[in-house]
Amino acid sequence: MKIIISNTTDSPLYQQIEDQIKDAILKGDLVEGDPLPSIRGFANDLKVSVLTIRRVYEELEQEGFVTSQVGIGTFVSASNIDLLRDSKRRIVEQKMQDMIQTAKSLNISKEELNAMMDILYEED
């Protein structure tokens, strides 16, 4: 798992870390049962406060992305597969939105866009 913190965005630190962990889970970099680093170790590596990591883990647990067991650690959980699937769909939709925006600003028509999509899809 890689977490890169940006000093120049306005997004709060805990939010950045949380989002990147969520991304990793949704992309499948982290799967069910994978352990997350210890709070203190994670804080040391990122040079952030343990209170921040604590908050990240708490919110991730509330939203169903992880479960934590006292004394053992925090683990990725798949208790909300539908939620995850929806989120994944939402990521694709988001990217499509961005793509459409960019295309529109460059005056690329819908037909051109579809054609490009067909070609690129086959390439994989």
């Binding site: 000093n7 120049t8 306005d10 709060p12 630190l13 805990y14 203190r40 170790g41 804080a43 040391n44 040079k47 952030v48 406060s49 343990v50 209170l51 921040t52």
Partner: protein
């Protein structure tokens, strides 16, 4: 999360200086940095917490227990590092240890020997032949050898070279790996705290300025750079610390949204603790 140290309403007057109603608490499991300029009251506060000076008023609780009634038992659970001059220099480290060790009921000779070899210290060496870095390591070796749950340190990294400082911070991080502990250290070398602190408490002229989670603090302030020509009286008011040169301005603000509205053409980044500290003291620059 319990508080490992609670100070409420601490007042102490000297002729030229006084602590006024100092109140703060250290959460358990955190490294707390105590910052302020020289003369702000850090050492006075620490001395009051350690029972070295008599306070005029106020209450101090360690591990939830009142200091006044259980001073000895509580001191047993605290490791103390008071910068580098707190030894009888003419003695060897072993002799100094023989003075300090019997005070603690939980003293572990084995931990002490481990610490001394981990820090590459020879106990038979005289203390006045040690470099500053070695003295601090020795002080740490002593503080870590009696199963202390809280480390209280007064400016431990002053005058140390960057290598020793990073070793020192690594030792602290290692100490904190076990739960239920805390570290409280005063310093004006804020770059160390950028790396390792969890909570920050700032004192200025005898009064507590803020107590905050480090990241919340760093998130609430921004270091802004932009065109000096765009500054006017109102906008200046959003900044607590401004530096203007012929090429532009740099300022610290905690009202980022307002600044963005008034000045769309700026670069903003997270500040350092030093920036925030300067922004919170008079004379920090405006």
């Amino acid at each position: 999360m319990d508080n490992i140290l609670e100070v409420s309403g601490l007042n102490k007057s000297y002729r030229d200086f006084s602590l006024k109603n100092v109140t703060f608490s250290l959460p358990e499991g955190c490294i707390t940095g105590f910052i302020g300029v020289n003369g702000a009251g850090k050492t006075t506060t620490l001395r009051s917490v350690l029972g070295l000076t008599n306070k005029d008023s106020g209450r101090i609780k360690l591990f939830g227990i009142d200091m006044e009634r259980h001073e000895c038992e509580l001191k047993n659970r605290v490791g103390v590092v008071l910068d580098d001059g707190c030894f009888y220099d003419e003695l060897t480290m072993a002799e100094m240890k023989d003075i300090i060790a019997p005070a603690y009921t939980e003293w572990s000779e084995r931990n002490y020997r481990n610490n001394m070899s981990r820090f590459s210290l020879n106990p038979r060496q005289k203390i006045n032949t040690l470099s500053k870095g070695m003295r601090i390591k020795f002080a740490l070796a002593l503080a870590l050898s009696h199963k202390a749950e809280l480390l209280i340190m007064d400016e431990p990294t002053g005058g140390l070279d960057p290598l020793i400082r990073s070793q020192f911070l690594a030792i602290l991080a290692d100490y904190m790996n076990e739960g239920g502990r805390g570290v409280f250290f005063s310093t004006h070398i804020t770059s160390d705290l950028d790396k390792i602190a969890d909570v920050l408490i700032m004192i200025d002229r005898g009064k507590i300025v803020f107590q905050e989670d480090k990241d919340t603090l760093l998130d609430s302030y921004r270091k802004v750079k932009g065109d000096a020509k765009a500054l006017n009286g109102d906008i200046r008011g959003f900044f607590s610390n401004i530096e203007v040169t012929g090429l532009g301005f740099t300022g610290i603000t905690n009202q980022m949204s307002k600044v963005r509205k008034c000045m769309p053409d700026i670069v903003a980044e997270r500040p350092t603790i030093e920036d925030i500290m300067l922004g919170n003291i008079e004379g920090g620059g405006k």
